[in-house]
Symmetry: none
Subunit: 249 residues, 2 copies
């Protein structure tokens, strides 16, 4: 195995878990501890990781608290949110699902916007509390703590009595053939219902999620009216969606 390959893998591991143990790497890469140590030293000299006794940690020694703010692909997400902003209008009833991209969207809501928002996301609700023009409703239920959203029968029940003009659906995976899918059944149920009661369904999604698949189907592509990505609408990656009649921003 090439040294560069090892460095690549180490980097992957360290960005993924924020730490690495030398012993683990040693097993993983099938090289001696010395080699691992030397690799780590090189990466440390480049300032990419910080070497500690027993392994290395990601060089963002910014405490956990800030990690919430260091959202992946933040630039992309903000660009998407800006495009999506053109879809919301005064007087609408808007459903906003969880997810960091959607969070960026509500942060961009102008102070002048007058609308009614329903959400199952705790951070989004918190953010909108300080927005004067928004009338805010929260879906209650069991909370998925990692996603910070409510799920369960109560949400479904609440939704069954609702009609919305537009729904921004959080999107983990988007596939031209198979539509939107996600990692948890409860989440999928809720998302499906969100889409069902909305006149327009919008998916804000970074391009790295396009073409991927998760175990639980949310909705078919036919039920998605608009997708917004950071790519220009003409990008070949988006061709399949345009062909199927989806609006692409």
């Amino acid at each position: 195995m090439l040294k560069e390959e090892r460095h690549q893998l180490i980097l992957e591991e360290v960005t993924r878990h924020n730490k690495v143990r030398s012993a683990e790497l040693c097993r993983m890469l099938k090289v001696s501890e010395d080699t691992v140590r030397r690799d780590l030293k090189e990466l440390a000299d480049q300032g990419i990781v910080r070497k500690v006794h027993g392994g290395a940690v990601a060089n963002s020694l910014i405490p956990q608290e800030y990690r919430e703010h260091t959202i992946d692909h933040i630039g992309q997400k903000r660009a998407i949110a800006e495009k999506a902003l053109s879809l919301v209008q005064d007087g609408q009833v808007i459903i906003i699902d969880g997810g960091t991209t959607n969070f960026e969207l509500v942060r961009l809501f102008p102070e002048s916007l007058q609308a009614t928002v329903f959400t199952n996301s705790i951070p989004i609700a918190g953010e909108l509390c300080s927005h004067h023009g928004i009338e805010l409703f929260l879906f209650g239920g069991k909370v998925l703590k990692n996603a910070r959203v409510a799920v369960g029968m109560d949400v479904l029940h609440f939704l069954s009595e609702l009609y919305a003009d537009i729904c921004f659906i959080g999107t983990r995976s988007l596939h031209a053939g198979l539509g939107i899918s996600t990692t948890r059944r409860e989440e999928a149920q809720v998302k499906r219902k969100l889409a069902e009661v909305s006149a327009q369904v919008v998916a804000l999604v970074t391009s790295d999620k396009i073409g991927t698949l998760q175990p639980f189907r949310v909705v078919e592509l036919e039920q998605v009216h608009t997708i917004v990505t950071e790519l220009p609408p003409g990008d070949p990656m988006l061709k399949p969606f345009l062909d199927r009649g989806v609006e692409v921003l």
Copy 2:
């Protein structure tokens, strides 16, 4: 576990609760007390925390005064929350109403606490999302943006199917003759229901609210089992409550 990891976790804990007990860390990190002590010493030497007997406290870069002003009477509220902490136990079903004093209470929840929490408060839900031991349920409904709580029929409906061991009720006004009252009818409705379905009703309240009155009645004093203030239980201000058989911490 890497030493750096421990340091990270300790830091998280200390920024979260503003303090940390060595014994707690010891359980949490599965290392000996000596190791914890050494960790704390290192962090203290770096000026990140301040070591005190029994643990460490945050060495806040933000001057104390600033924080004092962000929440009124923060010192009092924290003192109250600390007293109230003795009321919560593993395995309980806990309802927590909104309010800054209640927020301080959940911030003090030890990492080891295992319980089921129901809340209508968005900030409290957000805080508890990063608490491993808590199973969290959120009451949905219309959001009162200034209080950041959900109210309305949906909350009442949710509550009608629930029994809780203990309820911490947010208290704007507490009067020995007339019980708890508040400024909005919708809030009062919800609070009354919260109290109704709970075996023990606790009011965390700063002394400046004692004897005041608001337009909407929440519950009579007979329905309040425990009140917690920053005053010593023997304070004459609390005499009327003791006389009426309310437990006072």
